[in-house]
């Protein structure tokens, strides 16, 4: 055993965490802006020096026996999702791509056009997830789309996760045009059966085998055991571990995770989300136990302007009686200065406000909603998405929450609101905080030693 070094080559910061594997404690962490333009190792070494200094103060021999990393540098794992009907396979493809820790650039439906093909070339995804048709269902559209994608002038791996009946033809079309294509089980084999795990696993494998190399991240990283997964995937794994537990260690049950970052706000729920009370009819695509949504317009740095515009559009400022002097100007400055760390009172206040708004809007979008239909017999509630009212725990992570002065006040925005009873948010959750920023580190450790990883989480996440 000994000490483990866990690294996140993030989009803005490279973060390092050291864990004592014998004592099962967190030793320290450090960060430095990611140096992806020159060589990611430059920033890494600076962060490592700082971490080593911190640890040696504790009189511990620095000898990293285990080195694991995740990465979302150079844009993360950028995915274009293609499906047939927007609310069915296109939606399923998006859920699968996000669940694999990807960043979904765009979702397409029906037959792809030549213009859309050109657009994909400009978007330059790292991977295309091609779906469409249930097994035995529509074949025409996915074969057409395979033809269109075979004409792409960019080199991009394509994952085929659509109608099994057209897989052979689609594969041949793509291979003939020298496209790299992998066939995997349909993400929606039946209309009422979502099957995203095989596609997610394949995406992770491709990320390791092709995509990291293509991004030029791995040239000099031989001394790290390996980059195991995209960063979001590591955080998602840690959440799953905490909720479900392992064979030997008990989990804490259903959970909602919120990660407020600079560019996006992620929400992940670990719950079947079945209606907690009677009188509901469930409609729409079946929901996965682990569901991740990413809001690209909500973030407290890069996306701060978008966030403010969204908040204004949704009349948020008025509803919450927010009056802050020069807010627009401040937010504009933040969106240009993405490495900015708030120090004075006013800046901290602005950050808190932006994080709170991000949390509220992102969670409102994530959770299920119901509509009441009046039938001749009685009113019936139709549920779309997950009923998360009974989820007992909300876990906060990401700079926007962790670094806030009062994280609880931000996480409280996730609570069910009597004024909007149709938005099915947790009613009386307890709040956990990832105070030491260890979620990604635990997610990485979980690959090798899940029991220890879970005990670490339980020890270092704090109830607030």
């Amino acid at each position: 055993m000994g000490i483990a070094l866990l690294v996140d080559f993030g989009s803005t910061f490279t973060k390092l965490v050291a864990i004592d594997l014998e004592k099962e404690i967190f030793l320290g962490s450090s960060y430095y802006p990611t140096t992806v333009e020159t060589d990611v190792m430059i920033g890494f070494k600076k962060a490592l020096n700082e971490l080593n200094k911190k640890i040696s103060k504790k009189n511990i021999d620095i000898d990293y026996d285990l080195k694991l990393a995740c990465s979302s540098a150079a844009g993360g794992l950028k995915i274009v999702a293609v499906g047939l009907v927007p609310l069915l396979t296109s939606q399923a493809a998006k859920i699968a791509a996000l669940g694999a820790g990807g960043k979904v650039l765009k979702v397409y439906s029906y037959k792809l056009t030549a213009d859309e093909r050109d657009e994909i070339e400009i978007l330059k995804p790292d991977l295309i997830l091609l779906s469409g048709g249930t097994d035995g269902g529509n074949e025409k559209v996915i074969i057409h789309n395979a033809k269109v994608l075979s004409q792409l002038k960019i080199d991009v791996p394509i994952v085929y996760a659509g109608n099994k009946c057209s897989a052979t033809i689609a594969k041949r079309i793509l291979k003939e045009n020298k496209k790299s294509v992998s066939i995997i089980e349909n993400i929606l084999p039946e209309l009422n059966y979502l099957n995203i795990e095989p596609a997610k696993e394949l995406i992770r494998k491709l990320f390791l085998s092709n995509i990291i190399k293509a991004k030029g991240l791995s040239k000099r990283m031989d001394f790290l055991s390996s980059v195991l997964m995209p960063t979001p995937s590591a955080v998602l794994k840690a959440g799953q571990l905490l909720a479900k537990g392992t064979d030997n260690e008990e989990g804490i049950g259903d959970l909602m995770l919120i990660d407020v970052g600079g560019a996006t706000t992620d929400v992940c729920s670990y719950s079947l989300g079945l209606p907690g009370t009677g009188g509901f009819v469930v409609k729409g695509l079946p929901q996965p136990y682990m569901k991740r949504t990413v809001e690209g317009d909500l973030g407290i740095r890069f996306s701060a302007m978008n966030l403010l515009n969204t908040a204004k559009k949704e009349n948020f400022m008025k509803k919450c009686k927010i009056k802050l002097k020069d807010l627009d100007k401040k937010v504009e400055k933040l969106s240009r200065n993405i490495n900015f760390i708030a120090k004075d009172e006013k800046d901290i206040e602005v950050d808190k406000l932006l994080s709170a708004i991000s949390t509220k809007i992102a969670i409102n979008r994530h959770v299920g909603k119901f509509q009441t239909k009046y039938t001749p017999i009685s009113p019936v509630n139709i549920l779309y998405g997950k009923d998360l009212r009974d989820v007992p725990t909300v876990l906060g992570t990401g700079g926007g929450v962790i670094k806030a002065k009062n994280p609880k006040s931000i996480l409280e925005k996730s609570i069910f609101d009597e004024d909007e009873p149709y938005i099915l948010k947790p009613k009386s959750p307890k709040f956990l905080l990832d105070k030491y920023y260890i979620m990604f580190a635990v997610g990485l450790l979980a690959q090798k030693m899940p029991d220890l990883a879970l005990r670490l989480l339980k020890k270092h996440l704090i109830y607030i």
């Binding site: 047939l84 009907v85 609310l87 069915l88 396979t89 469409g132 048709g133 249930t134 035995g136 269902g137 529509n138 074949e139 025409k140 929606l188 039946e190 209309l191 009819v281 409609k283 239909k373 009046y374 039938t375 001749p376 017999i377 019936v380 139709i382």
Partner: protein, 141 residues
Amino acid sequence: MIAGKRKLKIVLGVIGSDVHAVGNKILENVLTEEGFKVINIGVLSPQEDFINAAIETAADLIVVSSLYGHGEIDCRGMREKCIEAGIGDMQLYVGGNLVVGKKDFTEVKKIFEEMGFNRAYPPGTSPQQLIDDIKKDFNIK
């Protein structure tokens, strides 16, 4: 089953704000038993759900049930939506208590045929009648 090769695919559901699930389950069982591939979208289904399901599964036929008397309102515009969605030649059947009151069924049938439904069934139709008609319309022996 078309030309003895593959199973005929049927999208089945109860339209509108109608929660009558029993007939829906019976039809699902009977049609599946007969060898058809049934995609049952269940009760409280808007027109769009029928159409989306039919596109994704490349269905051959949509069978709409309505028991609560508002069938005429719920079904209006369905053929037009099918045309718009690119499945204009889809076979549409409808059956149940399609209108309120004791209207003569020939009149009701005419209303639904004018709305673009290929077949309309009165209350009390036996499932066998439906099966016979499907076989006739799709040339299944």
